[in-house]
């Protein structure tokens, strides 16, 4: 097995993994603020791509304008989702919330199918598509965009959670919602924030990956699952651990496809996930918690 092949697999895996990472962080942010596993997370990824297409093709905006518009539109969708579906039943059991988000994801997917049809659509790359050679492997400019934007988001995320009041308040909610409420943090608003942030992140992931993978109304399901997977490996952290989880998942998948079998690549990724969970039930980077009785 040659070095350049391994390098090619790893580079491809890293860019796919970066997308999983962004989705996974979105998962974790909502989970930490609300205790909800948001199965509709993948749909915001889809909305990011589809809204970009809408602004680009139908409204004829240039790409640099279409992208922020698409992020805003998807974020509004996330906000509406929280207001209409999650807030009305704040007291519900976790399992009911899971079903609500599943119902929500089916609904969003259906609306997208009716608005944009069932076809797959291509979105132009941000800056050309001339391959770049790196030591025998090749990547596209779009891969660099993906990696760069992921790094920026991770940094902004870090600054928000550790250096702003509302970010700190959100972390307080993640540790203990009731205690956070007692010290005067508006927990409801934090929940809303968490949905806004994660739908924005999801849509960004959807937009930067769309030029490579194309987009359609049903791309959200699998991406959402992979993001969930990344979050679990990262121990449901909304920081760097989940990012590493995503990158690890992407690279494992790509190496699995390259070195073992492309048909089994998802199976390989999930087997490794299971092994990780069996050995470290709290995720690769999660701290062991003692159960509160």
């Amino acid at each position: 097995m040659q070095f350049d092949q391994i390098l090619q697999y790893s580079l491809s895996g890293l860019s796919t993994g970066a997308i999983y990472a962004l989705i996974g962080v979105g998962f974790s942010i909502i989970f930490n603020a609300t205790g909800i596993i948001n199965f509709a997370q993948g749909e915001f990824v889809m909305l990011g791509g589809m809204f970009t297409l809408l602004f680009l093709e139908t409204l004829k905006l240039p790409l640099w304008a279409a992208i922020p518009c698409a992020i805003v539109a998807s974020t509004v969708a996330g906000l509406l989702f929280e207001r209409l579906a999650i807030r009305p039943l704040r007291q519900a059991t976790p399992i009911n919330l899971v079903i609500i988000t599943i119902g929500g994801s089916i609904l969003i997917r259906g609306l997208a199918m009716l608005s944009w049809g069932k076809d797959t659509h291509a979105i132009p790359p941000f800056s050309g598509d001339d391959p770049i050679a790196i030591a025998g492997a090749t990547i596209l400019p779009q891969h660099l965009w993906i990696l760069a934007i992921t790094v920026i988001i991770v940094i902004v995320n870090r600054i928000y959670f550790y250096h702003t009041i509302s970010g700190k308040a959100m972390r307080a909610c993640a540790y203990n919602r009731r205690a956070a409420g007692l010290v005067g943090i508006d927990v409801h608003r934090m929940v809303l924030f968490s949905f806004i942030i994660s739908s924005a992140m999801g849509s960004i992931a959807g937009i930067i990956v769309a030029p490579l993978t194309m987009t359609a109304y049903d791309v959200g399901i699998m991406l959402g699952l992979k993001g969930f997977c990344a979050a679990i490996i990262g121990g449901m952290s909304s920081g760097i651990a989940t990012v590493i989880g995503g990158l690890l998942l992407g690279v494992l998948e790509s190496l699995g496809a390259g070195l073992i079998s492309s048909g089994y690549k998802d199976a390989i990724a999930f087997i490794i996930l299971l092994l990780i969970l069996f050995i470290r039930p709290q995720g690769l980077f999660g701290k062991a918690e003692s159960e509160r009785v």
Binding site: A85, I100, G103, A267, I271, E291
Partner: protein
């Protein structure tokens, strides 16, 4: 206990009489699926409703039952009546072994692990083309026979499937009211407290997981022999989610709730078919509304609704 038996008796009579109303049409065929899904929902509900352990991979056990039965009978010409229990034993053993590490996990980690398990099984169905026929599916699975009767029509299959379903309903009702059922509920409420009281919680959880997998496998075998054809698409992640939805919509921990959930989610797409492309939106919207307005599931929500309607009717009568 007497009340439980009475309830079961009424349910059984309704089930046995239903074909008189719908005989011959396509609805009979759908009702066969309601039976299979009821079995699956009861199996999952034992785990989720009674022991409080989530599974997003039950379609995998269902599929394994279907494929083991299907391959043994279609490719190796086994008698279905031997293939079915063998499938159940194999699936049970597998669930038992995997149960110990998996059920150590909690909450969303458990959800992820079972989801992963389901997806791995699904990929194996798809990729082992020589064995399973791959994505094109496996055809030529024989119908079940009993003496000179071959179960090859909707009505015959109805009685076959519902015979099994009724047995499982009876079994589940008994289990819930037994010592084991009480121990399970203790695990559900607080695992630590149950442990302190002397319940071997980890073994109990694995046992119920195994039981649940065996029921799913049995349903899978029956499915294979009534359909005479299986393809991987029926056993994917979506179906695991659908099963979970049946259990929650029906009512956690309730055997008859599982039936209601299974019946509703199996019949709903048939009625929504008239709405064409809008069906997916109505389906998603209904799911959300049901959970919002009947958080306890149909089995608690519907009586509540009647009570409210009745009371309101009375009030307006007075006015």
């Amino acid at each position: 206990m007497k009340r439980e038996l009475l309830k079961f008796g009424v349910f059984a009579i309704l089930v046995l009489l239903a074909p008189l109303l719908f005989s011959g049409g396509y609805l009979m065929n759908v009702l066969v699926f309601v039976g299979i899904n009821t079995m699956l929902a009861i199996g999952l509900n034992l785990l989720l409703g009674n022991a409080g352990q989530i599974s997003l991979g039950h379609a995998g056990f269902f599929g394994m039952g279907a494929y083991i039965s299907g391959i043994l009978t279609a490719t190796y010409a086994w008698n279905p009546w031997f293939a079915m229990p063998l499938a159940a034993v194999v699936v049970g053993l597998l669930a038992f072994l995997i149960g110990f590490p998996i059920l150590k996990l909690k909450g969303h980690y458990l959800a992820m692990a079972t989801l992963g398990l389901g997806i791995i099984v699904f990929i194996v169905f798809n990729e082992t083309v020589d064995l399973t026929g791959g994505p094109s599916g496996l055809s030529g699975i024989p119908n079940l026979t009993m003496g000179s009767v071959t179960f090859d029509s909707d009505v015959k299959n109805y009685y076959l499937i519902w015979g099994f379903t009724l047995m499982i309903v009876l079994f589940a009702v008994n289990l819930a009211n037994s010592r084991v059922g009480r121990a399970l509920r203790a695990v559900h409420d607080s695992e630590v407290a149950a442990k302190v009281l002397g319940v071997n919680t980890s073994l109990l959880k694995v046992q119920i997981f195994t039981l649940s997998a065996v029921i799913s496998s049995l349903a899978g075998s029956l499915y294979a022999h009534t359909m005479t054809f299986v393809a991987p698409a029926s056993f994917g992640f979506n179906f695991s989610v659908e099963l979970l939805t049946m259990v929650v919509i029906g009512g956690l921990g309730s055997v008859y709730g599982s039936f209601l959930g299974a019946a509703l989610l199996t019949l709903l797409p048939e009625f929504l078919r008239a709405a064409h492309d809008y069906d997916i939106i109505i389906y998603g919207g209904l799911l959300m509304l049901m959970v919002m307005f009947m958080p306890g599931g149909l089995v608690r929500g519907v009586p509540d609704l009647f009570r409210k309607l009745f009371r309101r009717g009375k009030e307006s009568g007075h006015a």
